[in-house]
Symmetry: C2
Subunit: 196 residues, 2 copies
DNA sequence: CCAAAAACATACTACTTAGTATGTTTTTGT
DNA sequence: ACAAAAACATACTAAGTAGTATGTTTTTGG
């Protein structure tokens, strides 16, 4: 990788972490360049504005990250009910990067940036769309393979499950303890079983 | 009401609306005193800091509001499954104050303020605790009255339902359309029916 | 009615913010 | 090797921020 590209990526990655912890508004450019050891000139050579950087973070950091940890696991299991439960269990209890006190980065961004920044909303919507589409088609396949009852509405279940995930992340922030996730996971398991 | 109390309440109410729409960080004191027609001297006579005002908003505006629209409806119905569904339907589809593009004020506050402000977290946690306790006991009563199966875990269901609500609020922000709520509500109904 | 306290008004400060102007250094293609 | 472009560095600006200093007006209790 070229050195200039490295600089750019360093900014995006460090800024992403800072924003995940502190929020977008409260993470200043000065803070970003201080922790990355990059000067202001370098920063503004790579990004015209702070929002351009924010968009780049969503598209170049958040999106591939979520694809890897949210989407791929769904495609590797044949039984979608098992896949969904294991995905949630991994995201909530085992993922090393996602911290209970900081919530879900995608959810944080959505909460903080929409509706007042249209571009952010669009970019985040694309990510969500990808996730819901994959989960929906996974469920559909599960119906064909006899894992799930035929009368189950795949899209409804997807939205229901995703909502639960985002919501329990919020709950975790409040309680600041992963134990909060346990009753959610238990009930999720029961709910998923009801779809068999 | 005394005039001074009126001033204080005006500040809290207008600030609450501004924060609901724009977020806490991006709502400045100057903006608040401009829209309330209250001078800076008056503002800082009533509140020592911005955060003191924020806390007052949570305790004096948000808390009673949520009690009225989130908790009381649960206590007026005997069948908890009907009560929960109608509550969600009202909050999502019919409530005039809550707008799809701005989400749920309690959720917004939680997302934006915790964990970096401990006092905010505590105050918000109390509100949530109240809601979950009422919903849990409502479900327990429903078990005794034969509306809900005995083996259902009330606390699990409460957390599951509340998570879904917060999550779908986030979804609504992304889509900026109340229609997003419909598949969630349909699936919620099915889920609740499975508890009978 | 009138002094003391409460309530409000105005002008200011110190600091932070995103962004710019104007450089210098490094890389790159020929 | 060397000019041109890319990449980075430093010092600055203008606008905003929360909060303060120092007043004036209004209310209140005796």
């Amino acid at each position: 990788m070229k050195k200039a590209e490295t600089t750019r990526l360093t900014i995006l990655q460090k800024a992403f972490e800072l924003i995940y912890v502190n929020g977008y508004q409260t993470t200043s450019i000065d803070e970003i360049i201080a922790t990355t050891q990059v000067t202001k000139g370098a920063f503004y050579y790579h990004f015209k504005t702070k929002d351009e950087m924010g968009l780049a973070i969503i598209n170049e950091i958040l999106k591939p990250t979520l694809t890897k940890s949210f989407i791929e696991p769904l495609q590797k299991e044949q039984n979608p009910l098992v896949a969904i439960y294991n995905l949630m269990d991994n995201l909530l209890m085992k993922n090393e990067f996602l911290k209970v006190e900081y919530g879900c980065p995608a959810s944080n961004f959505t909460q903080e940036m929409t509706p007042w920044n249209v571009d952010f909303g669009k970019a985040l919507n694309e990510i969500t769309k990808e996730w819901t589409e994959v989960m929906t088609s996974t469920i559909e396949k599960g119906k064909e393979n006899g894992f799930i009852r035929k009368e189950v509405n795949a899209e409804q279940v997807t939205i229901f499950v995703l909502s639960g995930y985002w919501g329990i992340r919020n709950f975790g922030k409040l309680e600041n303890n992963k134990k909060t996730y346990l009753p959610y996971l238990k009930q999720l398991k029961i709910y998923l079983k009801s779809l068999e």
